[in-house]
C-alpha cells in the first residue's frame, strides 16, 4: 500500500511500515521551546525525574516571545532558561537573535525527512523543507527531553494541488490566506496537508515557509510542501509520496486569477479579496513574525515605501525575523529606506503578534499585520481590530493610511 510523505517519515522513525490511524512511538530528531513554553517544560522535566536531556545537541531554547523582557517576572523566566541551557549543554538563542522558527531553518537545525517537535504551534513551518514538524505543549516536550521519544497517531493527509501561477504583485501570503479561507480553521484537524502543484513549485524558500507556517491555521498537525523546486544550501534526499498513496481528500485550486487577500478581524480563516475592504482606515501597520519577517518581505515593503512617507496618523512597526535578516537589510539599505519612510524597527521577536509588548494596539484601533493570527485579543487588546495580509498589503496600507490594493505599487 502506497504511503504519503508523512507515513514515510513516521515509518522510518517507528521502524516499521505505518499508515494513517496507526499509533506509533517514534524517536524524535530535534526539539525546540520558546520563552512561552520552555519554563513550564523545564519544570515538568524536573518533576518527571529528568536529569540529563536525551539529546542536548539537538535541543534548542529560544527567547523570542517576550524579548527583551518587559518586566522582572519574565526576566526571571529568561534566567531560568539560561541556567537550564548552561547546565544541560543545549543551545540557547538569547534576546534579539531571532524568532525560533526562522532560527531553526536558517541554522540548519531541521532537515528533510526528520521528525521535529516544537513547543510552539507554528513548528509546522518546517514542512517547507519536507520535515514532519508539529507543535505540542510544554509537558510533551519535557517528555521528549527525558525519553527521546514521543507517541503520535499517524495522521491522514489532505493533498492540495495548486495550479496556475500567481499574478505579478500577488504574494505567497495571499495564496496562503486564500487556502486558510478555503479549508477553514478546523478543516484539517488531526490531519496532515501536502502542498503541491505548479504554483507551489515556483514559490521561493520563504514562500514555502509562509505556506507551511499557516497549516496550523487550518487545524493541521503538519503541512508538508512537496520537494519539487526546493533548494537548500546543503545536499538532501527529497521524499516524495508514492503514486498510490491514500489521501483523505484531494483538492485542486487554480490561483491564476487570485488577487490580494485579507483575513478580517476575529479569526484567520475569515478571508476575503482585499478589494472588498479597500478604504478601511488603519492606524497601525505591523511587518514581522514567523510567517512574514524575512528579507524578501522587507524588500517588498521597501519597494512600496522607498522615497515615500508613511501616511499621517499611521505607525509602521517592523520586527525582522532574525538578527541576520536585520543585518542583511541594514547592509543593502532596506532598513534605511524604510526608516526614512517612517518605520520603527523593533528587536527581532514575537512581541506584537502575541501581545506581550513592543506594540500593543489601543482600544478601537484598526491594525493590519503580516502575522498569522488575529483572534480577538491576539495582539494584547481585545478591543482592537486586526486584519492579516501580505507584506505588500501592509506596506500599501501604511503608505495610504487605509487598506489599499498593493499591486498598483509593485
Amino acid at each position: 500500500m502506497g504511503q504519503t510523505i508523512t507515513e514515510k517519515i513516521l515509518s522510518t522513525h517507528a521502524g516499521r511500515a505505518v499508515h494513517a490511524g496507526d499509533m506509533v512511538v517514534v524517536d524524535v530528531d530535534a526539539t525546540m521551546a520558546s520563552d512561552t513554553t520552555a519554563p513550564l517544560a523545564i519544570q515538568a522535566f524536573e518533576q518527571m525525574g529528568g536529569d540529563k536531556l536525551a539529546q542536548p545537541e539537538r535541543t534548542f531554547l529560544v527567547i523570542d516571545h517576550a524579548a527583551p523582557a518587559p518586566n522582572e517576572r519574565i526576566g526571571n523566566l529568561h534566567e531560568l532558561m539560561r541556567r537550564f541551557a548552561k547546565d544541560q549543554g543545549c543551545t540557547l538563542y538569547d534576546v534579539g537573535e531571532g524568532i525560533c522558527h526562522q532560527l531553526m531553518v536558517d541554522n540548519h537545525h531541521v532537515h528533510p525527512g526528520e521528525i521535529f517537535i516544537g513547543a510552539d504551534s507554528h513548528t509546522c513551518s518546517y514542512g517547507a523543507l519536507g520535515a514532519f514538524a508539529t507543535g505540542v505543549g510544554s509537558t510533551d516536550i519535557a517528555a521528549i527531553w527525558r525519553t527521546g521519544q514521543t507517541w503520535l497517531r499517524v495522521p491522514e493527509s489532505i493533498k492540495i494541488t495548486i495550479d496556475g501561477s500567481l499574478q505579478a504583485g500577488v504574494q505567497a501570503k495571499d495564496l496562503t490566506l486564500f487556502l486558510v479561507g478555503q479549508i477553514g480553521i478546523s478543516g484539517a484537524t488531526y490531519q496532515a496537508i501536502e502542498f503541491c502543484g505548479p504554483a507551489v513549485r515556483s514559490l521561493s524558500s520563504g514562500g514555502r515557509f509562509t505556506l507551511a507556517n499557516m497549516a496550523i491555521e487550518m487545524g493541521a498537525k503538519a503541512g508538508i510542501v512537496h520537494p519539487e523546486g526546493l533548494t537548500l544550501s546543503q545536499p538532501f534526499t527529497p521524499i516524495h509520496p508514492d503514486e498510490d498513496a491514500q489521501y483523505a481528500r484531494s483538492l485542486h485550486f487554480d490561483v491564476s486569477d487570485l488577487t490580494p487577500q485579507v483575513s478580517i478581524p476575529g479569526s484567520p480563516d475569515k478571508v476575503f479579496d482585499l478589494e472588498q475592504y479597500e478604504g478601511t482606515s488603519v492606524s497601525y501597520a505591523f511587518i514581522g513574525t514567523c510567517v512574514n519577517g524575512r528579507l524578501e518581505d522587507l524588500h517588498t515593503a521597501a519597494r512600496i515605501l522607498d522615497g515615500k512617507r508613511v501616511a499621517p496618523g499611521v505607525r509602521l512597526i517592523i520586527a525582522p525575523a532574525s538578527r541576520d535578516i536585520f543585518l542583511q537589510a541594514l547592509a543593502d539599505g532596506t532598513v534605511a529606506s524604510l526608516s526614512r519612510a517612517g518605520a520603527t524597527f523593533i528587536p527581532s521577536g514575537c512581541g506584537p503578534c502575541v501581545g506581550t509588548h513592543n506594540g500593543v494596539p489601543g482600544d478601537g484601533e484598526t491594525v493590519i499585520s503580516t502575522a498569522n493570527r488575529n483572534f480577538t485579543g491576539r495582539m494584547g487588546n481585545p478591543r482592537a481590530h486586526v486584519f492579516l495580509g501580505a507584506p505588500s498589503a501592509v506596506a500599501a496600507a501604511a503608505r495610504e493610511g487605509c487598506i489599499t490594493n498593493p499591486t498598483r505599487f509593485l
Binding site: 506509533v24 510552539d120 521519544q149 514521543t150 484537524t189
Partner: protein, 175 residues
Amino acid sequence: MNTQIKGAAHVYGDHVDTDRIIPGKYTKTLDLQTLANHVFEDLDPDFRSRMNPGDIVVGGENFGCGSSREQAPLALKTAGTSVVLAKFFARIFFRNAINIGLPVLEVPDLEANTGDILKVNLQTGLVLNQTRGTEYQANAMPSVMLDILRAGGLVAYLQEHGTYSTSSVTEAHPA
C-alpha cells in the same frame, strides 16, 4: 482520578481559541493562579465569579484552537474546571489537557445549556444531562491517553513508567 464527575455546564460556541481561554499577555508565568485569574477574560468576563469548583466547560467544534500554550488547559484546571466536553478539540489542546491531567471528552452530539447539571462517567464515556434527562456517549480516546489521564498526567505517567510503553501506545483504540 475521580471517574464520576457532576457539575454545572458553562456552554460556549465553536472555535474557542487559546487566546480566548488565556490571552498571550498572561502566559509568561509559572504561577498557575495568575492563569486562573484571567481564564476566559475576554470571552466571558463573569466566568470566574459564576463558576463553582467542579463545574464543567462545554465547547462546540474545535475547542482550544490556536497556540500550543499549555497554559490554556492549566488555566481552566486551576480555576476549578473538572472536565471539558466538546464536539471535537484542536489537536494540541487535547494532548495538553490530558498531559496536565484535565479530563477532556469528545461528545459529538451533546446538547446542553449553561446551568444544566451534567454527570460524566470518565470510565464509560457516558454523559448525562440531568436537567434535560438526556444521555450521550463520548468518543473513545487512544489507550495511551487513557493511561496518561489515569496516572494523573504525563509527569506522573513518566514518574511511574520512565518511558512510553510501546505496547500500550500501539494498542488499537478501546471500544
